[in-house]
């Protein structure tokens, strides 16, 4: 190591180095001079040449849209597909030609005033674009006509892009959602580079939730264009990456059956597999054919109202009082909290009264039920029995128990914009209504009325937890998805395991079985073919409250929008549940007369056709 500290003294070596260094420096100086000469040549001598080139030899960057992923049902039936869409595009850099082109097109295929106004508006907004769409969704005849005049006009072009098609139209609309034009709200959240020049994006349903997967990655093309805007040649192509296909858990046969069964009504029905959480069918009515909707945008508020809000997805956004369908849970909670002995018979008269209060909480049966035990209370849906249970339990215990069944929170299904519903509790009322919780509130909560609100999906979810005896499967639509159980869910499963015995579960499910299979059950007459061992619970939800004084209701003369909602939750077969269903039908009447027969038919259709095998 010492050596390196030595002075660099050997004159020869130093000379040699100096010599070599000089040679290199001179060489590099020569090269640099050449380079500067070259730059002078390019930038000063040939400036005009290159200036012209840069002005005329424009390169256009074109995004090529990726193929959107196809959506299938669980048996590979196509639910959402792509077709070609032809549009007229006009190069707006040729300002002088614009009016001439538009006139020619108007003459050839006709243009509405709106279309022309829209075009000018867009042209103003996107002045930095090369070209802008004048008219979309051309039919073949129109395409042919435009192509025949294209050669006369520079800057006029017909382009093909992808259009989304939903072969099952309104039947699948609320599940799949639809794609639509990218609007301001979308622009705020999406990756602008990825969506440059793209027309549409998933707006609702599966199309929105799985937008990233379905969309893919756009390709690009560098195209050389001449001064007239005509494409000369492709310079550089990056191919688009198609979007992922998605296989849903929906069974389109069942979905169709469900839709048809409910077609006369407004409401929702959801069928799911309690073991996996797979949604087998999910309908919300009324619905609308998204194929038409996509391009003719905008409904008048008036029109929507007349159609009974067909864009509103009742399955996950419709909020209904659960009504009597909640009674099995109230009963289970009472067993868990040791409020009652299930076998003990209690007197249930025509009404229930709180001490020191004149208010009468009436039973649906004007004469009352007499002596009832828990089984009979569920089978006949005895209100007074449950008023008493609710009163003994108190709201805190009730509310806490409902929460274990996921009321008041999102189910976590793979759909956007799910509603949470309302889990009634003292805090909730204080916060949202501003008043203290009263004992009366507790009483009506016991029969699923009052502040309590749930979506049909939440009802189905709670029923699946009940059918599964406390094992929770999160509802899902994507077959491949494996939902991760949150800590909250694991805690709840633990709660069920620790606090509710198999015998307790059986008491409740047996009672629900009797609802359908015992002659005095509220759903006994709803299905003749009882071989599938259905267990269910009806619910009838009052839309307006009965006054204190009148005992009788004149069913026939109530205006339609004030009629009761008809509810039903069920699962089958009782011993080994393969299907859970929750149905809500708006403004028709009792649960036993409408929701129950329809739902039981759906269950039989599913089990009889052995659809569960797939």
């Amino acid at each position: 190591m010492r050596k390196s500290f030595l002075e660099f003294s050997r004159i020869n070596t130093e000379k040699l180095f100096q010599n070599r260094f000089n040679i290199l420096i001179i060489l590099l100086i020569i090269l640099s001079s050449l380079l500067i000469a070259r730059l002078y040549f390019l930038q000063v001598v040939s400036f005009n040449h290159f200036d012209t080139l840069s002005k005329t030899n424009r390169i256009k960057f074109i995004s090529t849209p990726p193929r959107r992923g196809i959506i299938y049902d669980r048996n590979n039936t196509v639910l959402a597909d792509n077709a070609s869409l032809y549009s007229i595009e006009i190069n707006i850099e040729k300002k002088r030609n614009l009016q001439k082109i538009i006139d020619a097109i108007k003459k050839e295929i006709g243009l509405s005033k709106e279309e022309i106004e829209n075009f000018y508006e867009k042209k103003y907004k996107y002045s930095h674009y090369n070209s802008i769409v004048l008219k979309s969704n051309l039919n073949e005849e129109e395409v042919a006509k435009i192509l025949s005049i294209r050669y006369k006009y520079d800057g006029l072009d017909v382009t093909a892009s992808l259009l989304r098609k939903y072969p099952y139209k309104e039947i699948t609309h609320h599940v799949l959602g639809h794609v639509g034009y990218i609007d301001k709200k979308d622009l705020a959240s999406l990756d602008k580079k990825k969506y440059r020049n793209m027309q549409y994006i998933g707006k609702t349903g599966v199309e929105k939730f799985y937008e990233n997967e379905l969309y893919g990655n756009p390709g690009y093309k560098h195209v050389e264009i001449n001064a007239r805007g005509r494409q000369l040649r492709d310079l550089d192509i990056g191919y688009a990456e198609p979007g992922e296909d998605i296989h849903l858990t929906i069974d389109i046969e069942l979905q169709k059956f469900m839709f048809d069964a409910l077609s006369k009504y407004s409401g929702s029905s959801i069928a799911l597999n309690p073991n996996t959480g797979e949604i087998l069918g999910m309908v919300s009515l009324p619905s609308i054919d998204p194929n038409d909707r996509l391009w003719k945008y905008g409904f008048e508020q008036e029109e929507l109202k007349k159609l009974k809000s067909p864009l509103f997805n009742r399955s996950i956004n419709g909020l209904y009082s659960p009504g009597s369908t909640i009674k099995p849970l109230v009963a289970l909670s009472s067993i868990q909290n040791k409020i009652i002995n299930p076998e003990e018979e209690i007197f249930a008269g025509p009404y229930f009264q709180l001490p020191n209060s004149p208010r009468r909480f009436r039973d649906w049966k004007p004469e009352g039920h007499g002596m009832v035990d828990l089984n009979r209370a569920i089978v006949q849906s005895c209100d007074v029995y449950f008023y008493k249970l609710a009163d003994s339990l108190g709201i805190d215990k009730l509310s806490n128990f409902f929460e274990q069944f996921s009321f008041g929170k999102k189910t976590g299904i793979d759909m956007p914009y799910e509603s949470k519903g309302v889990l009634p509790s003292n805090e909730w009322k204080q916060k949202n209504i501003g008043y203290k919780w009263t004992d009366g509130d507790t009483i009506i909560t016991g029969i699923g009325q009052g502040f309590f609100l749930a979506t049909p999906l939440q009802l189905a979810y709670a029923t699946s937890i009940l059918a599964n005896k406390g094992v929770i499967s999160i509802p899902k639509l994507n077959k491949k998805l494996v939902p991760k159980k949150s800590k909250d869910i694991l805690n709840r499963e633990e709660f069920f395991k620790k606090n509710i015995t198999n015998m307790d579960w059986d008491i409740i499910t047996n009672a629900m079985f009797d609802v359908v299979n015992k002659e005095n059950g509220t759903a006994y007459w709803s299905i003749r073919d009882k071989k599938n061992n259905i267990a269910g619970k009806t619910g009838t939800v009052q839309v307006y409250s009965l006054s204190q004084e009148t005992d009788e209701r004149d069913e026939e003369n109530i205006p339609e929008h004030l009629k009761d909602h008809s509810l039903y939750v069920a699962f089958a077969p009782k011993e080994d549940p393969k299907i859970v269903i929750a149905t809500v039908i708006e403004n028709v009447g009792s649960g036993s007369k409408f929701a129950a027969p329809i739902s039981n038919k759906i269950i039989n259709f599913y089990l009889d056709n052995k659809l569960e095998k797939y």
């Binding site: 050596k3 180095f17 380079l35 070259r38 730059l39 390169i59 550089d236």
Partner: protein, 358 residues
């Protein structure tokens, strides 16, 4: 290790010019990335990191640097092996390796580590003749890392690294007769390399350089468009952010390989001359430091760094004006990318360190 008070300000002119060009680099990068401030901020962060590295290196005594050179060399060989097996791909080549959360292109830092190692090796026997044994050993040191870089595959960078090594042994006093032999050997090997070693796309790049119009859609496209960008800049340039060629996104690799084309389009011939003048000031300081260097190691290393610095600038600019094939050489201090900044600032640090001993 003593932190000398003179650490940095021992050449304040050099230091200021480095800062000026760095800021200029960030400015032009803003334009080259279509005003993407995120990229600029990231590059700025890398610059700050590299400044600290430079100060750290310059504070180390040059003899200590000499002492650790072989270890750094060994470490970089190790990193090349890692890159080969676990590196990540981009555009068909595996050139990067993740290290401490940073993505490092090892071939980039070899441009400085190789001369350092050669200078160390040759200084071990500085009083002896530059005989054939020394020559063969030097070539082993040169070709060991190059073999890995070729495998990535990155022929352009391999050639640049080879040139860096050759500059070092040339400065160290390789015999004239040896130079003649090597040149003869090259004439024999070159055609064979063309036939067996070059991949089709590499041949294409070289061929299109001779006649860009032979492949205007593929590799010739870059050359044609880059020339248009530079040429249309004219004497005064189109102005900052106004380079139509660059802003219309036709120039490939605008931030890295072709940053010079963006600069030339927007600032014109006069801007380019000012940039060159700034580079020239650095080079003059480098030559000065080389002349004053005391030890054999310092002299070889400083001389090599000076020549390599100029070589990189010339290569990059030649690419942009269509005089050399697109070999992926970055423009010192201007191009986007952490690895090239790292090696350049490491070299600056060494130059300051040598200057302190002078």
């Amino acid at each position: 290790m003593t932190l000398n008070k003179n650490t940095i300000i021992n050449d304040s002119l050099l230091f200021s010019i480095i800062i000026i060009i760095s800021i200029l680099g960030l400015t032009i990068l803003y334009s080259a990335t279509n005003e993407n401030i995120d990229v600029v901020i990231r590059q700025g962060t890398r610059l700050i990191f590299c400044f600290f590295l430079m100060i750290l290196v310059s504070s180390i005594d040059i003899n200590r640097i000499r002492f650790i050179s072989p270890y750094i060399y060994a470490f970089s060989i190790f990193l090349l092996v890692v890159t080969l097996f676990w590196g990540h791909d981009s555009k068909g080549a595996t050139r990067w390796v993740m290290i401490f959360g940073f993505s490092l292109q090892v071939s980039e830092i070899l441009k400085i580590i190789l001369p350092m190692t050669l200078a160390w090796f040759l200084s071990l026997s500085e009083d002896k003749d530059f005989d054939i044994k020394k020559l063969i050993a030097s070539f082993i040191i040169i070709f060991l890392p190059i073999a890995f870089v070729i495998k990535q595959p990155d022929l352009g960078t391999s050639l640049i690294i080879l040139l860096c090594g050759i500059i070092s042994i040339f400065l160290a006093g390789i015999k004239r007769s040896h130079i003649a032999y090597l040149f003869g050997l090259f004439l024999v090997i070159a055609p064979l390399m063309w036939k067996f070693l070059l991949l089709p796309y590499q041949k294409k790049r070289i061929l299109t350089l001779i006649d860009p119009s032979s492949d205007p859609l593929g590799s010739g496209y870059h050359i044609i468009q880059s020339k248009i960008a530079v040429g249309s800049g004219g004497f005064f340039g189109k102005g900052f952010l106004n380079g139509t060629q660059s802003q219309l996104e036709f120039l490939p690799e605008r931030g890295t390989d072709f940053i010079f084309a963006v600069f030339a389009e927007e600032f014109g011939f006069i801007g380019v001359m000012i940039l060159f003048l700034l580079y020239l000031l650095i080079i003059i300081r480098f030559i000065h430091i080389t002349q004053k260097a005391k030890s054999y190691f310092s002299k070889i290393l400083a001389g090599s760094i000076t020549c390599i610095f100029v070589l990189l600038i010339i290569t990059n600019v030649s690419m942009a004006v269509g005089l050399l094939p697109v070999v992926g050489v970055t423009l010192p201090l201007l191009s986007l990318g952490g690895s090239s900044l790292l090696s350049i600032f490491f070299a600056f640090g060494i130059m300051f360190s040598i200057n302190r001993r002078a």
